[in-house]
Symmetry: C2
Subunit: 113 residues, 2 copies
DNA sequence: GAAAACAATAGACCATTGTCCATGGTTTGG
DNA sequence: CCAAACCATGGACAATGGTCTATTGTTTTC
C-alpha cells in the first residue's frame, strides 16, 4: 500500500512514518510503477507501527527500538539478539517498578491532602 | 545546605537542581551570610529530588511535575488538587499497562528467536 | 595570602522526536 | 483536461530536558 493508506490505517502520520523509516524502524520497497517512485508499504507495516507506537508510549526511545529491530532482523547471532531483547525487557520492568513506586507515593499524597 | 552538598547527597547535578528550581519543582531560600548570596537548600529537598528523579524515570514530564507541585503546595482548592493528582495516577497506570503489553510482546519474540 | 574549590547568573549548546514547509513531480475524480 | 489530492526529498523549525561555558564573586585550604 502507499504511504497515505498506511498513515490512514495505522493512525501514524506520514511524516512520522517517514521518520521511522529513515531511522530504520520500518522498511518499504519500491513500487511497481515505472512512471513514479512511490514506495510500497507491505501490509505487515501496520503491525510494526502498532508495536512501535506502543513501545514509544511505554517510554522506549528510537535508539532502543533500533536495537531491537537490528537484533531481530539482522540477527546472524541469535545469542546476541536474545541478550539485547532480554536487556530491553529488564529495562521495561525496571521502569514499571519506578512507576509503581511513584503511584504509591502519589496515592499517599492524596490521603494527606 | 548549599547546592554542592545537595548535589552530592542527592546524586543530582547542580545544573539539574538549578533547572528544576527555575521550573518551580524545588525551592530554596536565601542563605544567612551577608557577604554572599549563596542559596540555602533545606534538608527536605533531598526527599523531593528523590521523588522527582523517580518520577522522571517513570516517564513523567517536567510539566506533569509542575502540575503536581502546584496542586500540593499552592492548593487553596483541595478538590482540584485531588483531581490533578488522581489524573496523574491514571496516566501512570495507563503507562504501566502499555509497558506490560510491550514486555509480553518482547517475551513472545524471544520465544520465536 | 594565594590557589583551589565553590557559588550565582545568563546564555549558548546539544540530542531527541517529531512536525512543517517548499519544491516538483504523479495520479485521480469529475 | 485540469484541479485537487497524493507522493518524494530535503531542510527548517519546535519543544523538551537537560548540560556546558563564561564571568564574576566568595570561601576554604594549604
Amino acid at each position: 500500500m502507499k504511504i497515505g493508506e498506511l498513515a490512514e490505517r495505522s493512525g501514524v502520520t506520514r511524516d512520522t512514518i517517514r521518520f521511522y523509516e529513515r531511522n530504520g524502524l520500518i522498511r518499504s520497497r519500491p513500487g511497481q510503477s515505472a512512471t513514479n517512485n512511490y514506495r510500497d508499504y507491505p501490509e505487515d507495516n501496520l503491525f510494526q507501527l502498532e508495536f512501535l507506537t506502543r513501545a514509544r508510549d511505554a517510554g522506549m526511545s528510537i535508539a532502543d527500538l533500533q536495537d531491537i529491530v537490528n537484533a531481530t532482523e539482522g540477527s546472524c547471532d541469535m545469542e546476541a539478539a536474545k541478550n539485547v531483547i532480554g536487556a530491553k525487557i529488564s529495562e521495561l520492568k525496571e521502569r514499571e517498578e519506578q512507576i509503581r513506586k511513584v503511584v504509591l507515593f502519589l496515592e499517599e499524597s492524596l490521603q494527606k491532602l
